[in-house]
Symmetry: C3
């Protein structure tokens, strides 16, 4: 912890040259080989064009083929981060984050800026017509006149569906209550595919994925499970680790649907039972319930001493608390920083599709 | 009202393809024939150049000739929404909304972005020097260094005039207390002229306009009446419908000035008395008094069963409450959505003039 | 003070043409002859390139040579305000102002926009991961993915040093608690050099500088004294005027270091004792302590009757209170408005350097 005398020491150090920084990303942060994915997935523009008049509301709307094309475009962007600076030129995003967030908002806004677009932000619900009793329908009709795309995060999980009634521009659900967070799941699976591109082909061995959290209450997990089910033939099992406190681990019909789509799901309460067998460990301790933070699963923590399988990767949507110790940051298990980095590129890909600007970035038209 | 089981149904629907949306604007929303206005008004650049060193503080500063040229430029923008993307390149707007707003702020910011400019937003008065006791004069002097244009909305109706003392860049009054809202009035009259371009010529028959609200207390109405007086020769009468609760319907001298300028004004308390005769019905129930919403005229509501004249149009600056029922949205009377859409283009026109960039968009220099 | 009947008078005046404004800056505002500096300092690109992998945390990191090159680039920008509109094209600034500010934030954002860059703003600490207990280290790692540069102002004076631990993009300290405000000091000294370019050469006569305030408690003064020490050979004396209320005028070692670097420092409690001898008077009454404004030195005020030396200049970082009377605004002593204006150009220069874009603006590569 830095204190006042440390500040003076730091200042002396600063004078001595310690204001220098290293701009290169350390290798240990899972460089995530986007080029591999780029080579392994053939480009199919028509599949992406199907997104051109779609809202992005739920992970359930993505089939495997669409995911692969989105990942391919993300990989193209990530491999050439400075090349594509104008696809969204002239396009305006309405960035509406009624539920507090910096990480997701900056991720979207960065993606939009990188592609040359303009942004208008609403970060305070109380300044909007909602505070004056305006209907979400009318707000959608208003947005139609002002922008080309809406990105919405709201505690109220009905907002996005209600606005879809009047919107004639696409809206992306950036997290609605405890319901869904589709773009986070896209980023998560993009990361997994960069780590093991063979998953696309249906690996006979099958990877083992462990998810720490409660699927009925965490939107990141709900969306993630849905997308994982598209690659069920490459997944040996999904183990849900929970703390035994929550009555209903799954929403009505949630587990059945996932199993119907091919996932083999087990539930446990002891992470130590299976950790050493897992290839991918996904942790996510914080759950938003209304405007409070509800902490679930405080007993589940990972650190550099945890008995992780060699080559296993850890994912976490961040922000993190005690559940993911910083001692893991410099180990090869750290793919959570790569996950955050890739999230900008997957959003760039998605935004390019829904604004109908893919013709500006395809190899072949 | 959407509830949790509806969400799951909605999700199933989403999976089935209900994330699709229709990007085309329905015909019924008063397409507002901007091309007609474009043809009927000859371009006169000199008139627009007179705005180049003017603040936009009050509707009273606009004569008929200036209005027609602004409407012509708005119509040019509305007819060619993608053509003019660079007139404001290199220009910075300071968007200062001390009084909560999303609609007006996004309307201005969208207009500025569409023309290629950059924006800096201040949405929280407490972060400004005002909170530190800084004078508005000093804040104006500060703004001179940072931007090319200021757009200000403030509960305090004196702010805009005080800042004009030191500003050397133009400021637009985007609503000051209960005083004025000139650009809203510009949008309102632009809509009326798109509906009946003949008004410009001085229609011998004359249209009948009904305004529901209190001119002394509502800035949108104050500004609107002033602009309507420029077209008094085409207006048979203006009927003010109020609820009989407010003592002084007009500010001192307000009614006299309007009548001197040619408007024939009547007041009534029963909307039903005259509704069937009206060509334009303008409603606006909410009035901002300090930081509270004061609701006036709750007894005056319109819906699809109201005895409207065939071809009559309804205007409302929005956000709306119960006074304007959604049953009217799909009828030909709905020109309030076209009014909101046109507001972006009229602001584009005004902003182009005050930043001295009209030479980039005129047909003939 | 404007009141309601004045508003109506103002409106009549507005109708009569009083919405006009004068866009030209008055001569009396210290035009600050940037061209002189431009001619007197030879360009040395290598010196600026040394900033390309540096954070900007403390005034102490700037040597005289670097200062001169930064001032030269600022002077180039100030002399040609419209010429350089694209050096930061494609670059994203993360503008994080956790401590309320409008002046400094708009100054930075204006500088960045003028050079063609894009901006993402965080103005509410409660929306960030900090509110969720996220470490500053993790926030720095997040920022690495989203932008090219961070500008941070925080009550917590440790934030900038803590974030430097993980940042791989440059961060500028825009004011941390009572510690430092390096870019304000750069703007202050830039102004002094525009006033007397000879200072660079080491004037044999030496100017006398008077600073009203407490160096141990005011970040603007701490940073300013450090930069002034780089020009100690041209400064006859620095007189600190304080109100005798504060126990420790200087932080431990602060005065000794400055004297070691050549400044001759005296302290007094009576401004009137020496005012008539001073060439530069720097006042700054407000000091931020945590989230409250602590007002220091209320007894020290300047106005047009103060016995100022002919040709003396007054500097104030603004916002001002009673300590700097408006009667001085129209006098040749007013260099505080020029100081604010120049602050945008010095920030443009610094931002160009830390984003490694100087090659786009040098005369010779």
């Amino acid at each position: 912890m830095v204190n006042k005398s440390n500040i003076q020491e730091a200042e002396l150090a600063l004078e001595a040259g310690a204001v220098e920084f290293e701009p290169e990303t350390p290798d240990v942060y899972g460089d995530a080989h986007p080029k591999d994915l780029l080579r392994k997935i053939p480009e199919e523009h028509d599949v992406l064009k199907e997104l051109s008049n779609k809202h992005i509301a739920t992970a359930a709307q993505f089939e495997k083929q669409t995911l692969l094309q989105l990942f391919r475009l993300s990989a193209k962007y990530e491999s050439n981060p400075d090349r594509f600076s104008t696809p969204l030129k002239g396009k305006i995003m309405i960035s509406a984050f009624y539920e507090p967030s910096t990480r997701t908002r900056l991720s979207f806004e960065s993606a939009w800026h990188r592609l040359g677009g303009d942004i208008m932000s609403i970060t305070d619900r109380s300044t909007t017509g909602i505070a004056k009793g305006e209907s979400l329908y009318d707000i959608g009709e208003m947005f139609n006149n002002y922008g080309d795309c809406v990105v919405l995060r709201d505690n109220d999980e009905n907002s996005v569906v209600e606005m879809m009634e009047s919107l004639r521009i696409p809206i992306i659900n950036a997290g609605n209550g405890t319901d869904e967070h589709p773009t986070q799941a896209l980023a998560d699976v993009y990361t997994i595919l960069k780590w093991r591109p063979e998953i696309m082909m249906g690996d006979s061995q099958g990877i083992k994925i462990c998810i720490v959290g409660v699927p009925s209450k965490m939107r990141t997990i709900r969306s993630l499970l849905t997308l994982l089910s598209r690659f069920a033939d490459a997944i040996a099992e999904v183990v849900i680790i929970h703390d035994g406190q929550t009555e209903e681990l799954f929403s009505p019909g949630q587990k059945e649907k996932l199993e119907e789509d091919g996932l083999k799901i087990h539930t446990k309460t002891m992470l130590s039972d299976c950790l050493h067998e897992m290839d991918v460990i996904y942790i996510n301790t914080i759950s938003w319930v209304d405007d409070d933070i509800e902490t679930i699963g405080e007993g589940f923590k990972l650190n550099a001493s945890s008995p992780l399988k060699k080559g296993a990767i850890i994912l976490h949507p961040l922000a993190r608390g005690d559940e993911l110790d910083t001692s893991l940051d410099e180990t090869p298990h750290n793919w959570y920083f790569a996950q955050a980095r890739g999230a900008v590129f997957i959003r760039m890909a998605l935004l390019t599709c829904i604004t109908r600007r893919t013709d500006r970035v395809m190899d072949v038209l």
